[in-house]
């Protein structure tokens, strides 16, 4: 178990990669603050099942990332537990597919609001706590779209490239006090997000991977476990591309 008795915050845990992270982190012994936008019976049932199966504590935290007041309450809720925070996994995000000429500024702002500005502010609050502890690992979920420049991804890709740049600066600023910051850039992964993409584009992308298949969400989650764990204690400022060798 790589994360026995460690406490981690994971955002976007209702579905997709975040949901898979709950299982993989719990399996490795971590206690989790599971952040999600809204409370649903399925979500509560899921976390209670995982928590029982792996004998870890999972606390649900509900807030909308773009609502600063709600974010602050969430932070207070976490801080009031007076526990150390070993890792923060910024996983929540939204996607937008549109050709450059057709992309509208409203969606541009919305993408950056969720994928970058909110992530930035939330991380600032958590880093305050980590700075006092003098340790912590920050794992940001970017995307291969940050590097690949595929059609339709000018907005989404740019928001993820911003996350990569921010992560490198955080690593450079906070490394000295023992805080590491890295990104994961998933390729084509079996989540709701790929349902937003035309089928032929997904197929084409899979044909351009070395492994010739899409990723299971759990395969992204395990790299997050690695980056949160001490196995990666000398890795910082990096982006690990988990894409099956996508070209």
């Amino acid at each position: 178990m790589l994360l026995k008795n460690k406490n981690v915050i994971i955002t976007g845990t209702a579905r997709g990669m975040g949901k898979a992270m709950l299982t993989e982190f719990a399996k490795n012994g971590a206690n989790i603050w599971a952040c999600a936008r809204k409370e649903t019976p399925e979500f509560l049932k899921n976390i209670s099942e995982i928590s029982k199966e792996y004998n870890v504590e999972i606390k649900p935290i509900f807030f909308d990332l773009t609502d600063l007041t709600a974010m602050k309450s969430a932070i207070i809720q976490i801080r009031n537990e007076k526990k150390n925070i070993d890792a923060l996994i910024n996983n929540a995000g939204i996607t937008y597919n549109a050709l450059f000429a057709m992309s509208d500024s409203e969606n541009l702002k919305k993408q950056f609001d969720v994928n970058f500005f909110s992530l930035f502010t939330f991380t600032q609050y958590i880093v305050k706590i980590m700075s006092r502890q003098k340790y912590g690992s920050i794992v940001n979920i970017a995307s291969s779209a940050a590097f690949d420049g595929n059609p339709g991804k000018s907005v989404y890709g740019a928001s993820k490239a911003a996350v990569v740049a921010m992560t490198k600066s955080i690593a450079a600023e906070l490394g000295e006090i023992g805080i590491r910051a890295n990104c994961i850039a998933p390729g084509v992964t079996d989540t709701d997000m790929i349902d937003t993409m035309p089928k032929h584009i997904v197929e084409d992308a899979v044909n351009h991977t070395d492994l010739l298949r899409i990723a299971k969400p759990s395969e992204i989650a395990t790299t997050a476990v690695f980056l949160a764990s001490d196995l990666s204690s000398y890795v910082t400022g990096q982006t690990i591309i988990v894409s099956g060798g996508l070209k």
């Binding site: 790589l2 690593a171 906070l174 910082t236």
Partner: protein, 250 residues
Amino acid sequence: MLLKDKTAVITGCMQGIGLATMDLFAKEGADIFACAQFKTEEFENHIKELKNQFNINIIPIYFDLEDDESIKQAVKQIAAEKKAINTLVNIAGITKDALFPMITRDQMFKVFNINFFSQIVFSQYIVKLMLKSGGGSIINTASVTAFEGNKGQLVYGAAKSAWISAIKTMSIELAPKGIRVNGIAPGVIKTAMTENLPQEAINEQMRKCSLKRLGNPEEVAGVVCYLASDLSSYVTGQIIKVDGGISKCY
């Protein structure tokens, strides 16, 4: 245990990163062919201790990467054990530092021969065995020098760059057959290789290093372990820098 039921071939096990990798792999439950250039009592005793402590099997294999015949003999010895090999970790390597005008052809040949040609040849043989056992994971050792350059390390860096390119092509060719191929690029790690570096050179690297400290061999072994394990099942064709943030390039 991350590597239970895996059998790994690791080169360069005598010291430094290779030794730390052997230790961690043993702890994580792998059986190991521990390759080193020559036999010593200390090495054999260490292997015995690991076997007893972690209840795994380790077979020492001795060969010289500069000697094709001894590489062949080593592979025969490994093949004769008839174990299903699913992990290859190429760590053994040398450095011969010299400034650009002073590099001799012999030095260039020696560094490329050990750090690249022989490792490719050895990997070819081991891949044949891995294909029989249904695939696995190969981890090669590059260096941050390949990305950043470093005074006096033209040849070393060039040979490591050759590996980076080879990793990408091996991944394209071998991934469809179930073998993932990745690399690590260590920064300044506390080993015999960096022991004699002038303090000034270390300070220069530490200025660039986000964590402001040298890495331990165990910390490199941790990343090798991730790449060997199923934690990285969708990671192939990648080079992971283990440098505390020295290199800022992609």
